[in-house]
């Protein structure tokens, strides 16, 4: 991937957005350029796809692309054009995410994940209004309508428990994801698709397959489809550590399904 931060395709290639100040990405030592929304948002759908080599899609595996969820985008953007956050949420969904996801689907991308740290990593615990979660859900429904991709909505860097069961009720993606270093798995209840962020992607300690499996508790019976995953992006640990964590996730899966 040629993009340097998750927002970069949009700060550089979407009409209506200018590149603003360099700012810290949540509680990490990584940074992004602030998307400054100064005009009507408009994407031709290729902002993301032009940042990666299309040959990646032909490998036979399901290829996944990660995009900023509407609430994270709105939280991190500087908006001087739209008259409300609600309008910006819908403009981002309708004019940016929809054409991007449609284009990705046509390219053969099989899975789109909306990364949503902005929902749960709330500054000093300031809660996200339920109305905004509803707006994001509504916006994503439009994004995904009729598009042939599986989709996920992954929350990380914060505890999602205050937004349960609303996340399952309002967000229309196939899977909802959680950072198990922040969210107690016991708070999840039950549902359809779950992204279980069991491997701590902020620590270089490599959990064994047994430890990872143990973190699933009894969730196996409560969700129809479970994907084992790192708690968040693996860019926060060295490559060798990331590879080891992925290997152990695969081993934990085998252990959980009894192979």
């Amino acid at each position: 991937m040629h993009w340097q931060d998750i927002l970069r395709p949009f700060t550089t290639s979407v009409k209506g957005v200018k590149k603003g100040a360099m700012v810290r990405w949540f509680n990490t030592n990584t940074f992004y350029f602030t998307p400054v929304v100064a005009g009507e948002l408009l994407s031709d759908g290729s902002a993301v796809s032009r940042t990666f080599n299309p040959s990646l899609v032909k490998s036979g595996a399901i290829t996944k692309v990660i995009l900023p969820d509407p609430l994270t985008f709105v939280e991190l953007a500087e908006n001087s054009y739209y008259t409300s956050r609600e309008r910006l949420i819908f403009a981002y969904c309708d004019n940016v995410l929809r054409p991007e996801v449609e284009h990705l689907s046509r390219m053969g991308i099989g899975y789109v994940q909306f990364s949503a740290p902005g929902v749960v990593a709330r500054f000093r615990g300031k809660p996200l209004p339920r109305a905004e979660l509803e707006q994001a859900g509504e916006g994503l429904r439009t994004v995904l309508k009729g598009v042939k991709v599986r989709s996920g909505y992954h929350t990380f860097f914060g505890d999602a428990a205050p937004y349960l069961p609303a996340l399952f009720d309002l967000i229309p993606t196939d899977d909802i994801g959680f950072d198990f270093t922040e969210t107690d798995p016991a708070s999840l209840g039950s549902g359809e698709g779950l992204i279980a962020g069991v491997a701590d992607a902020r620590s270089s300690y490599v959990e064994s397959a047994g430890e990872l499996a143990l973190r699933m508790g009894g969730l196996g019976e409560k969700f129809r489809k479970i994907t084992l995953a790192p708690s968040c992006d693996l860019q926060y640990v060295p490559r060798s550590v990331a590879d080891a964590k992925l290997r152990n996730l695969a081993a934990a899966r085998l252990r959980l399904i009894g192979k």
Binding site: Q4, R24, N29, T30, F31, F123, S203, S204, V237
Partner: protein
Amino acid sequence: MTDHKAFPTQEIGSLPKFSWRTKPFRQQPLEEGDIAVARAWGRRLGVKNLEPLLRLLKKRSGFTDEERRRIVEFSMLYAIAMQEKAGEHLREPGLDLVWSGEQARTEMYETPVSNIKGFEFLGRVRSFDNKYWREASVRRKPAYLRDYHLDEFLYTKSHARRRPKIPVTDAITIVAWSDHYYYTRKWGRRSLAPAAKRFSARREMTLELAGVIRRVVRDLLRRGAREIQLDSPAATQYQTVEDAKLVAESFNETTRGLDGTFSLHSCFPPKYGYGILFPHLLEAKNCSRFSFEYANRDGYAVGVDDGRRVGYEDLKLFRDYGYEKELGVGVVHVHTDRLPTLAAVRDRILYAQKVTDLPPEKIFVNPDCGLRTRSPEVAYEMLGLVAAGADEAREALAGN
């Protein structure tokens, strides 16, 4: 220590390394172009005894440790000269506080961590664009090994004509950029909420490391250092109230019982700005100057009103909390080659003075952060803008 000059100037972080400085350490042979650059910049900067360096570089490859040490020393001379000649067209060119621009360090994390007992390197982690740092994991309680900045300080002190300073990476930053293995395991056994465990682990690690760094600082002071800048780019990484308090606690622990001029530099906070550190940061009682990055968030227009100087909004925090000591104000954005106009730099300085209402002698002027990601040409131009911008601001004040 307050200068008796309005708007004193300082370097705040790294300077770019020339290819003739880096290649011998990467086992890459020097080419004619590298030597030509050394010659051209050496002449431009008026570096004395240039010929021995050029003769040494002509060896091209196979440098001994002693030869590499000499190359680093020359590199420090170039860095010092770059600061002392910045704004060479001015009646009084140069910055007031100078140092060796990180030329003797790998970078600001790897050098200290390589010289403190208790760490093991794991591998590279990406920070910004294609910039990486080599992350280390703390495997046991950190312990003092040596004063890893002493040689570079002594060299700077004996070769700088301007007042030398020495930046030292603070404990907060080393903790934030490291894996906390030893402390995570230690606190993992306690019956606390996950967030409380993580904070307790990093607080204990921070304060223990601060003790190690205090010894490094103490040794520097004993050998003549007066200006110690504690570098804390990670001060805003963790954003809880407890973490904001820890930044001040770490500063106090590092400087406890020591006699010198201590300042703190930070940069690139999250979108909430430096406000997340207030008012707790002001409990760093030994800190005589807070030097932050602002130009990154500012516009390029000329003017000294709030609307034109949006990047400097956070300076009001100091005014609102009745802060009366010194400030370092970043006036050049270091992650772009785009240069602000001299008038815009001047107005950033004048605005900082206006909005804080501090005497101009207490407003230090500097780049936002280290210039290591810029080319030597751009870095030199930016340092020139710092010197010239301060000069223009002084003239503007005198004319009022």
